[in-house]
């Protein structure tokens, strides 16, 4: 309780820094607090946005005018409550959209159940920040993991949909295709290769797409 109170009382300057960092990390659920000027579209909003409703609400939020009064932004995350003053409505909406995208990715990650690598915890100068930062600094790792799982080698099931998909592959532009073929030749001939970290094995390159194209 004492910790929560200290967070709420954070000074404006620290609030601004916190806000900028949060924007960059894009890992939060956000709620627009009470506005000094009450606007009808905002009255129906609940106190917090759940994960399930995040995308929908983000999409439905009205775009306020730039001239609208900045208001208070309250973020609930990981048991902490952060309050920011003087947040323009447009920026608040941007934060919520980024959070929705990241939340969706996090949902994907949790369903895939990969192992999360523990990130390094950066040293913090302020005590409240130190308490918050271990949770927040997982964001880059989450994104990294999410991106890593973005390209899994999943064996396609022999259902009709996958079959249709496999029959008509996404085509690639000639010039890019030629570059990738040269790149494969180069990777093979230059093994072991220091710069290209992505080259793991020395498997022979496949030219399925090219063959498919010629078969047309």
């Amino acid at each position: 309780m004492d910790l929560l109170e200290r967070n709420i009382k954070t000074e404006t300057e620290e609030t601004r820094k916190e806000q900028e960092r949060k924007e960059e990390e894009a890992e939060a659920e956000a709620e627009a607090g009470e506005r000094k000027t009450q606007e009808p579209p905002q009255q129906g909003q609940g106190l917090s946005l759940s994960l399930a409703n995040g995308s929908g609400r983000s999409g439905m939020l009205p775009m306020s005018n730039v001239s609208a009064n900045p208001s208070q932004l309250t973020i609930f995350y990981g048991g902490s409550v952060c309050v920011y003053d003087s947040v323009p409505p447009e920026k608040a909406q941007a934060i919520m959209l980024i959070a929705a995208a990241a939340a969706a990715a996090a949902a994907t990650k949790s369903s895939a159940a990969p192992t999360v690598k523990p990130p390094m915890v950066p040293a913090a100068t302020v005590a409240p920040a130190a308490v918050v930062s271990p949770v927040l600094t997982r964001s880059p790792s989450l994104q990294s993991t999410s991106v890593a799982t973005g390209q899994p080698q999943v064996v396609a099931e022999p259902s009709s949909i996958c079959k249709l998909q496999a029959d008509l592959p996404i085509a690639r532009r000639h010039s890019l295709q030629r570059f990738l073929e040269k790149r494969r030749d180069r990777v093979v001939s230059k093994a072991p290769y220091s710069t290209a970290k992505s080259s793991d094995g020395m498997e022979s390159p496949r030219i399925e797409v090219t063959a498919e194209g010629k078969a047309q």
Binding site: E24, A26, S55, S58, G59, M63, A94, L97, I98, A100, A101, A102, A104, A105, T108, S111, A112, P140, Q143, S144, S146, V147, A148, G150, Q151, P152, V154, A156, I161, L164, Q165, D167, L168, I170, A171, R172, R173, H174, S175, L176, R178, F179, L180, R184, R186, V187, S194, T195, A196, K197, S198, E203, P205, R206, V209, T210, E212, G213, K214, Q216
Partner: protein, 596 residues
């Protein structure tokens, strides 16, 4: 209709004002200020006199498809053209989906137009078959006048033709050969160009595989002080040090390659021209070679990294130094993290292309682009006018973000790659609707998904909110014929449509075509095709050509539960308006359909 009745009378009265009406010279001058082709088209319909004056004052014409009109007809109407652009093979040819012997020959056009068009000084051919003889005819007739020659993704000619151009076209300011397939008979053509031309501004033989001599490039730089843009085939950057030092005025350069990676000392002497703002090629550039361009990062406006060896981290490091980028082209190895750096750094970005990298087993690159990167870019780069992205994952929210923040979006293309099994948020109906409703300036739209990516309702939204979109490419969208019909009912302004891998019947395709009033060109591959194209005849009408690639014989016996044919991946339909009637040069594998 009734409201238009008074208009002609008013015009008539106005035209009869004064002695003999509006002077012809005045009308000529006024029409000279009308540039939009559609406005021109409308003006030429006012009366016979306006039609004639438009024809005389028209300087540029683009023929969207070379079989839509005969050369003689074009010549009869526009005798004073200065610039002509012709498009040939369907766009799908860029992806190897159209056989090489499709046609689209430049010969009839060159033979008919090169000599009589006295004012012609700019010619632009795209995806056409051009022979050495065609170029010879052109050079003999117009060599002394030609200022711009663009052969864009053309094939069929050799460097012998280029030698002829270099020797005879001394007023040439632009020679554009990007992504052409050119038979390389030696590099003398470049030497001849350097010796004979002193006014060249743009030289582009990017992605052509032609061999060049660095000494010829240095000679070109010395003789053509006006050279602003050079995009060339790959040549080791260490061999171009002399050229780059000589080219003081150069602003655009692409094609330098790093063949000896790991040996930075070879490249550290490279100094780029002081005014350089476009950089591309950089083939095989890796982390160790990036410092070559660090001193110029802040001034770069266009950067093409599609052919580099950079990792995601390398992309982040490099792009963080480029705050003034207007155009960025990368492979998806940039990853979401790289796109977040783009969003934070490149506030002026207008065009972004994220190509598909290597995804064959064993060659997969790290990275991958998803809704995280797209959302960050949408929020951070609000001046964007063009996005083309191959993504691994996508959500409705990301598309909504683009709709919310990118109000200047003119051209949007999205491909959902098929490697990843589970996509976060399908179907994308609501995201697509939000994007189309918000991006009111959109003119081109491409959406290539997977089955289930867009439902019939979503496809209906695409039509309903198509607004002023003139070109669409749709892949793996919709669930049934109903979706296509609903889509078609909404497309008032669509002129060109490409469909791929959809589950529609021939009948639905025909009905849809008839529903779209502005449609003049449609290409389809992967639909429920019959052996004869029987139901495609439902779209028959005057001036409408229908060409059909039959499905493979083995799929003839495959029938789905409802009795309709299965989706066939080989069958194609090409249908288009044409004043020229049926093609005289159809290859044997292409069947033309027409009423008996």
């Amino acid at each position: 209709m009734g409201g238009e009745v008074p208009e002609p009378r008013r015009l008539s009265r106005s035209l009869s004002f004064g002695c003999g009406g509006v002077p012809e010279e005045a009308l000529h001058l006024v029409l000279g200020y009308v540039d939009d082709p559609r406005d021109r088209e409308a003006a030429s319909l006012v009366c016979r006199r306006w039609h004639r004056i438009d024809a005389l004052s028209r300087k540029h014409v683009t023929v969207g498809f070379c079989y839509a009109v005969e050369p003689a007809r074009l010549l009869a109407r526009f005798r004073r053209l200065e610039s002509l652009a012709l498009k040939g093979r369907p766009r799908a040819a860029m992806y190897g989906l159209i056989p090489e012997d499709f046609g689209a020959y430049a010969a009839p056009w060159v033979a008919e137009l090169a000599a009589p068009l006295d004012c012609l000084k700019a010619l632009h051919l795209r995806r056409m078959t051009v022979t050495d003889e065609d170029i010879a005819v052109l050079v003999r007739a117009r060599g002394h006048m030609l200022q711009v020659l663009k052969l864009d993704k053309c094939s069929g000619f050799s460097t012998d033709a280029l030698r002829l151009v270099a020797r005879s076209c001394r007023s040439l300011r632009t020679l554009f050969l990007e992504e052409c397939i050119i038979a390389d008979e030696g590099s003398e053509w470049l030497h001849e160009l350097a010796v004979n031309n002193s006014v060249l501004v743009t030289l582009n033989f990017y992605m052509t595989e032609l061999k060049v001599e660095p000494a010829d490039l240095e000679l070109l730089a010395r003789n053509c002080k006006s050279l602003i843009s050079l995009k060339m085939s790959d040549c080791d950057l260490s061999d171009l040090i002399g050229f780059l030092q000589t080219s003081k005025a150069l602003q655009e350069f692409a094609g330098g390659a790093f063949f000896e990676v790991g040996e930075y000392t070879k490249y550290e002497k490279v100094k780029l021209p002081p005014r350089l703002c476009f950089l591309g090629g950089l083939t095989f550039m890796g982390k160790n070679e990036m410092p070559v361009i660090f001193p110029y990062s802040a001034s770069l406006k266009k950067l093409d990294l599609q052919y580099t060896f950079l990792t995601t981290e390398d992309h982040c490091q490099l792009i963080a130094k480029c705050p003034n980028l207007l155009v960025l082209e990368v492979r998806n190895v940039i990853g979401d993290r790289g796109l977040e750096v783009v969003a934070d750094t490149c506030k002026k970005l207008r065009r972004l292309r994220i190509e598909r990298g290597d995804d064959d087993p064993g060659q997969e690159e790290q990275g991958g682009v998803s809704q995280i990167g797209l959302t960050a870019v949408a929020v951070g780069c609000r001046e964007l006018e063009y996005i083309a992205a191959y993504v691994s994952d996508i959500t409705n929210g990301a598309l909504e973000s683009i709709g919310t923040f990118c109000k200047n979006m003119y051209d949007f293309r999205l491909v959902l790659l098929d490697k990843q099994n589970k996509i976060t948020d399908l179907p994308l109906d609501n995201g697509v609707r939000a994007l189309l409703r918000s991006c009111t300036k959109l003119r081109r739209f491409a959406l290539y998904l997977r089955p289930g990516g867009l439902s019939d309702a979503g496809l209906g939204y695409v039509g309903q909110y198509s607004g002023n979109i003139q070109y669409m490419l749709l892949g793996n969208v919709g669930e049934s014929d109903n979706g296509l019909i609903r889509f078609a009912m909404g497309c008032a302004n669509l002129r060109k449509l490409e469909l791929r891998g959809c589950c529609f019947s021939e009948r639905a395709l025909a009905v849809a075509v008839l529903q779209m009033p502005s449609l003049r060109y449609v290409w389809v591959q992967g639909y429920r095709a019959s052996q004869t194209g029987r139901d495609l005849m439902l779209m028959a009408r005057p001036y409408w050509n229908i060409e059909f690639v039959p499905p493979r014989p083995e799929s003839a016996c495959r029938v789905m539960a409802d009795g309709q044919p299965c989706v066939d991946t080989h069958a194609q339909v090409l249908a288009y308006y044409s004043l020229a009637g049926r093609r005289p040069d159809c290859p044997r594998w292409l069947v033309t359909l027409h009423p008996a």
